[in-house]
Structures are given as structure tokens and as C-alpha cells.
């Protein structure tokens, strides 16, 4: 969890309780300048609560948040000058046009008119939205709405960008636009904290924090997280994936089985020993299957593996 320079964001012991539940418990992590830091985990894991506390719109019950030298808990208004937050639910005005929304947020951040106009053009161009400047935000597609949200949050050139599931429900083309913008922001030194439900996006982050039931379970680069995963992942294609899934479940040496598009992913403790064993067993059970291929786990496999591991212990 070490960051090269002095961290841009330092979070320590962050805790938030709601009536009856603890949403976030003792989360501690640092984010370096220029990182794309991913928050991942199932729904209700506490990602949104963490985002809100970092954005200064929700007060933590315990713990500290520092962005540069600003204490976000004590002085959220100071922090808000340098960050942008994009909530999970579309937060712009649907009865205002694209231009009117941009203008409104630029004015709230006191961006001079000339500067605003200079920035608006390239931002709209980068998101392929120039043709929609006069359209009401409510009449935009889901993807365009999110891109407009990003434009509005970038109009004052924030140093820190907090994005809560910005690409959920967004078409693949818009998602690609979105990530292209994020990469270019990163190059100009913007620090990005993003939560996502898409694990292919998680792989693009410099580091990932896996939240589960309010706790930060793992925090590292995607590559090193994958190395953490015990066992070896096997991909097995099959025309009868369900039967295959059933046949593998609970067998000696099989740690987990997960249905994927064209078959199953199974994690085994010792591939050299188990591949011939399983292959023979499947043949004996007359279950149609392709070759048992060793693959590098995706983030999704990783989480299923890691969280399962934890439940077992």
C-alpha cells in the first residue's frame, strides 16, 4: 500500500454508522497524485458512503480524510474548491440544456466566462457531444448524461475527481469515450477515485480497493491482487455448463466453480495433479467438455475467490 510521493489523499480509520448498520468500518488507504484508484465490491459494501465522505457531503463518525493539507472532515467547504464529485444517481438538471448545465456548474465554481468557453469546446468534442449542446439533459441517452456529468465536473479543472459508478448503464461506445478522458486527465496529474461494477474497468485502475460489508479487505494493484489468489484458474468450455458446474462442485481439490458465458471457471489447488483427474472424471460422467485450460484470473474471478476464501476461514 505504499505510494511513491507524498499521498494526495490520506484516509485513516474512516467509519460511518447508520441506524442499525455500520456502512464503513475503519477504512484506511492512501492515494497518490495521478492515480486512478478503483473502489470495487458488491452492492452495499460501502463504496458510495466512502465517496460521499470524501466529497465532504457526509460527515464520518470517526476517522480522518486529508486531501493535500486540507482536513476534509473539519473543513469540507475548503476541500470542495479543488474536487469534483459525480454521484451515482444523475445529479444534473434534466430541465436544463447541456449548455445551461455546464454554465451553471462553471458559475458555481466561479470559472471566468472566457475560460469556461475555452474549456467547453474541447470537453464536448472529446465526448462526441458537440451536436447536443442545446438539448435538454433529460432527453439525452444514459451514456451522454454521464458524459455531461463528467464535463460539468471537469469545467473547473479539479485536482481530485470522485466518480461513483459513472459508467453503470452506459453503452460501450460512451464508456470508451469516458475512459479516454480519464486517461488524459490522469496524465495531466488529476487524481481519480472511481467505483465501478464493471470488472474490466477495475483492471484499468492503477490500484484497487476491495470493499466487502463495510470493510476494506484488499488494496493493491490489479496484478498483485491476482497473485494473491490461491490455486490456479481453469477455464472449461462446455455445451452443458450447468451439468459441468454440478459435477465439479465439491470435488477434491476444487476450491470454487463459477459459471461463465461458454462454460465454467474452476479454481483448483494443484493444477498439475487435478487437470488429468478432473478430465477423467468428466469423461466417465459423460459430460461434454472442452480442454481444461489454465488462464490468468480476471478481477471477477479474483473477488469470488478472495471473498469465498474469507467466508470459509
Amino acid at each position: 500500500m505504499s505510494a511513491p510521493d507524498k499521498p494526495k489523499i490520506r484516509v485513516a480509520g474512516l467509519t460511518k454508522r447508520f441506524v442499525g448498520t455500520t456502512a464503513v468500518e475503519g477504512a484506511t488507504f492512501d492515494i497518490a497524485r495521478g492515480e486512478i484508484f478503483g473502489l470495487v465490491g458488491p452492492d452495499g459494501a460501502g463504496k458510495t458512503t466512502v465517496m460521499r465522505m470524501l466529497a465532504g457531503v457526509m460527515r464520518p463518525d470517526a476517522g480522518s480524510i486529508e486531501i493535500d493539507d486540507v482536513d476534509v472532515v473539519a473543513d469540507p467547504e475548503q476541500a470542495k474548491l479543488h474536487l469534483s464529485y459525480m454521484p451515482q444517481r444523475f445529479g444534473l438538471y434534466e430541465d436544463l440544456t447541456v449548455d445551461e448545465n455546464i454554465r451553471f456548474y462553471a458559475d458555481l465554481f466561479e470559472v471566468p466566462r472566457k475560460l469556461r468557453d475555452e474549456r467547453t469546446g474541447p470537453l464536448l468534442a472529446a465526448s462526441n457531444m458537440e451536436a447536443f449542446r442545446r438539448r435538454l439533459a433529460g432527453q439525452l441517452s444514459g451514456g451522454m448524461k454521464q458524459k455531461l456529468g463528467l464535463i460539468c465536473s471537469l469545467i473547473h479543472t479539479p485536482q481530485v475527481l470522485l466518480l461513483d459508478e459513472p459508467t453503470t448503464g452506459v453503452d460501450p461506445v460512451s464508456r470508451r469515450d469516458f475512459w479516454r478522458i480519464l486517461y488524459s486527465l490522469r496524465e495531466s496529474g488529476v487524481t481519480i477515485l472511481i467505483s465501478t461494477a464493471y470488472l474490466d474497468e477495475a483492471e484499468r485502475c492503477t490500484r484497487l480497493a476491495l470493499f466487502h460489508e463495510g470493510r476494506l479487505r484488499y488494496c493493491d494493484t490489479p496484478k498483485r491482487l491476482k497473485a494473491l489468489m490461491p490455486g490456479t484458474l481453469l477455464a472449461i468450455t462446455s455445451t452443458a455448463a450447468r451439468d459441468l458446474h454440478k459435477a465439479l462442485l465439491g470435488r477434491d481439490g476444487v476450491m470454487s466453480v463459477m459459471l461463465v458465458g461458454d462454460g465454467v471457471h474452476a479454481v483448483v489447488d494443484d493444477a498439475d495433479r487435478r487437470v488429468p483427474e478432473l478430465s477423467a472424471a468428466l469423461d466417465a460422467g459423460k459430460i461434454p467438455h472442452g480442454e481444461l485450460v489454465r488462464v490468468t484470473p480476471s478481477i471477477e474471478d479474483l473477488f469470488v475467490g478472495l471473498l469465498k476464501d474469507e467466508h470459509a476461514s
Binding site: R52, A55, G56, V57, M58, R59, P76, E77, K80, L81, L83, S84, Y85, M86, P87, R89, F90, G91, L92, Y93, E94, D95, L96, E100, R103, F104, Y105, D107, L108, F109, E110
Partner: protein, 378 residues
């Protein structure tokens, strides 16, 4: 506090009102409709009160008296009966509000002693109309008896003796024609402005919560004061337009005499607008759903204004405890001011007391409203 941010909020709010049919209706249609409804609906003058007559004598005098009931605009003789049972039925059945019975010895007693009496039976289920009917009946009868006295004096060869040694001549001030509309309409203006004003702003914050735009708004550096001022400014302009519309309606359509100055009117209206808009805003900040906020705004403005502002029921006739409560009703001061400006032509100096009270009210609401809004999600 930054002017640029206030202006941005105001422009945004104005665009939203302009594009929202519901807000537009509250802003433009509601005042006109309410002025028309309340202005025409509330009328305390009684005319053509249905009356039933029972002449037990049938003399020249009795007929002359009843003829007066027929000829006045206050009454309309709907039934002439010849027994008490029919009379009772007419009153019970609601055919008439008042029944006049002339006794069989009416003219005999009149010629014997110079004094006689008639009986009036009044349906007093509505005490206000009953009082009015009784008053009008008394005036018809006393007009008749005065004429009789003059006639008798003439017959006795005396030259125009005074019908009574002393007579009370009352002179009504400020509302010379005793037209109830003249004191009701200024109250209606206050009522409409109280309703419309709070309705306008009751949606402004709750709408942001409901549509999910608040989370983003509170993450920007905008201050609560800037939010409040930016949001109230457009509604202040709309409210002023509405007030001008209602006041013009009162003067030019309902012909209410206007004796004060336009300055006093607009100055006090501005103060009242701050109170009602601020109140709506305060409710909107506290209640996070649009429907809830709108209902509560209706409840806290409508009932107190209708009942306790002196708009329909005079405050000085209320029990002491209720009278004390009326000091909390914001419309009380505006109703007092409007009536005085319209009918008495009073200015800022004469109205110092209610103006001061309203200023304190406005300041209080403004402070509470400014402090109620927090840039937090919980």
C-alpha cells in the same frame, strides 16, 4: 457570499420555473383564479332575503307596511300565508329566512295608543344573515312608523312635528356604502399572496432532493446563503408581479376605493413577500418531498390566514386567547395594512406598528430559513 453564484442560482431557478407547467400555473394562473373565486364568493351583503308574510289584520295600514317589504331590495316576499301552520312550514322548510306577522289589532293599537308592534320570526341558523335580516326589517318598520307619525301629526293639524324628539343619524366612515366587498377584497389579496407565495417556494428545495440534484449541488462550493438568495430572488419577482396583478384586480375590477399611496402598498407588499417566500423555503428545506412540502405550506398558510388574520372575522371580537394567537399569523399584519391603505389611505407613519411587526417577522423567517439548509446528505 459571491454575487456570481447567486446569479447562477437565480438564472437556473428561473429557467426551471419557466419550463415547469406546474410552477407556471402556481405563478400565473393561481392568483387570478383565486382572486376571482374569493372575490365573488365571499359576499357578506344580504340582498333579496326571502321573506314570508302573514297579515292577520288585512287593513290599509297593515298592507301599507307589508308593501314596504315588497318594495325594498333587501327583501323578496316569496310567500303570503294565512295561518301559523303554513308560516311555520315556510320557515322550517327554508323557503324564507324571516317571517313577518302583523297582529289582528295592529291598526287599532296604533290609533289608540300611537304604538303598535309586528312580529318577526327569524331563521338564525346562520347568525350573520339573521342579524342582517333583523336589522333590515327594523329599518323598514321604523321607516314606516316615522311616516305614520308625520301623517298623524298632519291630521291633527300640527305642522310637521318631529317624528321623534331625538333621532340618531349615523355616518359611516371609510366604507361609506357599507359594501362588504370593500373590506373583503384587500383581505383576499393578502390571502392569495400568502397562499401563492408559500406554494411557489415550498417546491424549490424539495424538488432538488426528489430529483437527485441536491447531492451534486451540495458538493460544490456554493454557500447556504447563496442558495437561499439565489432561489428566492426569482420568486420575489414573480410574487411581486402576482401582487401587482391582484391589487390591480381589486382596484379596477372590483372597484375597491384606493386611497393610499402606491409606495406604501409596494413597500409593505415587499415585506410580506419576504415573509411568505421565506416560510415556503423553510418548509421546503425541512420537508424533503414536494407533495409533503406543498401540503404543509397550504396548511400553515390557508387556515390561519382565512380564520385568524382578520380577513373575514374581526380580530377585536375574538376571545383574548385567540386574539393572542393571531399575533403569530403573518397575514394579520398585511391584512391590517392593506385595509388601512385601501380604505383609510394611511401611510407608512400611521402603519408603523404593523410594519414593524412584519419586519421582525420577515427577519426571523429569513434567519431561520438561512440556518435550516445544511450542505449535508443526512
Amino acid at each position: 457570499m459571491r454575487l456570481g453564484r447567486i446569479r447562477a442560482m437565480a438564472v437556473k431557478e428561473m429557467l426551471q420555473v419557466w419550463r415547469d407547467p406546474r410552477s407556471l400555473m402556481i405563478a400565473l394562473l393561481m392568483p387570478v383564479m383565486q382572486m376571482a373565486l374569493l372575490g365573488y364568493g365571499v359576499n357578506l351583503d344580504a340582498k333579496h332575503i326571502p321573506v314570508c308574510t302573514f297579515d292577520r289584520e288585512g287593513s290599509q295600514f297593515s298592507e301599507a307596511l307589508l308593501k314596504r317589504f315588497k318594495s325594498t331590495a333587501y327583501f323578496a316576499v316569496v310567500e303570503t300565508v294565512d295561518n301559523y301552520r303554513a308560516l311555520t312550514a315556510a320557515v322550517d322548510g327554508g323557503d324564507c329566512r324571516i317571517a313577518i306577522v302583523v297582529p289582528p289589532d295592529f291598526s287599532k293599537r296604533l290609533s289608540d295608543s300611537g304604538a303598535s308592534s309586528v312580529q318577526a320570526i327569524i331563521d338564525a341558523t346562520d347568525d350573520n344573515s339573521a342579524n342582517l335580516a333583523l336589522g333590515y326589517a327594523q329599518s323598514v318598520v321604523s321607516g314606516f312608523s316615522a311616516d305614520i307619525a308625520v301623517q298623524r301629526a298632519g291630521m291633527q293639524g300640527q305642522w310637521m312635528a318631529a317624528p321623534a324628539a331625538l333621532s340618531l343619524e349615523s355616518r359611516v366612515w371609510f366604507n361609506e356604502d357599507l359594501v362588504s366587498r370593500n373590506f373583503i377584497i384587500p383581505g383576499v389579496v393578502a390571502m392569495v399572496m400568502a397562499l401563492v407565495g408559500s406554494q411557489l417556494t415550498s417546491l424549490t428545495i424539495s424538488r432538488e432532493w426528489e430529483r437527485g440534484t441536491m447531492e451534486l449541488l451540495v458538493s460544490t462550493p456554493v454557500t447556504p446563503m447563496e442558495v437561499m438568495l439565489g432561489k428566492l430572488l426569482p420568486y420575489f419577482a414573480i410574487g411581486f408581479f402576482d401582487a401587482a396583478l391582484c391589487l390591480a384586480f381589486a382596484v379596477f375590477w372590483f372597484d375597491v376605493p384606493f386611497r393610499g399611496t402606491v409606495f406604501t402598498l409596494f413597500f409593505t407588499t415587499a415585506l410580506f413577500l419576504i415573509v411568505v417566500l421565506g416560510l415556503g423555503y423553510l418548509i421546503s428545506v425541512t420537508v424533503r418531498s414536494q407533495v409533503g412540502a406543498s401540503q404543509i405550506a397550504l396548511l400553515v398558510t390557508m387556515l390561519p390566514t382565512a380564520l385568524l388574520s382578520g380577513y373575514t372575522f374581526p380580530i377585536d371580537q375574538m376571545p383574548a386567547l385567540i386574539r393572542a394567537v393571531t399575533y403569530l399569523v403573518h397575514a394579520r399584519y398585511y391584512v391590517t395594512i392593506l385595509k388601512a391603505v385601501f380604505l383609510k389611505g394611511e401611510g407608512v407613519v400611521e402603519l408603523a406598528e404593523p410594519i414593524l411587526a412584519m419586519t421582525i417577522y420577515a427577519a426571523l423567517v429569513a434567519v431561520l430559513a438561512a440556518r435550516a439548509f445544511r450542505k449535508r446528505l443526512e
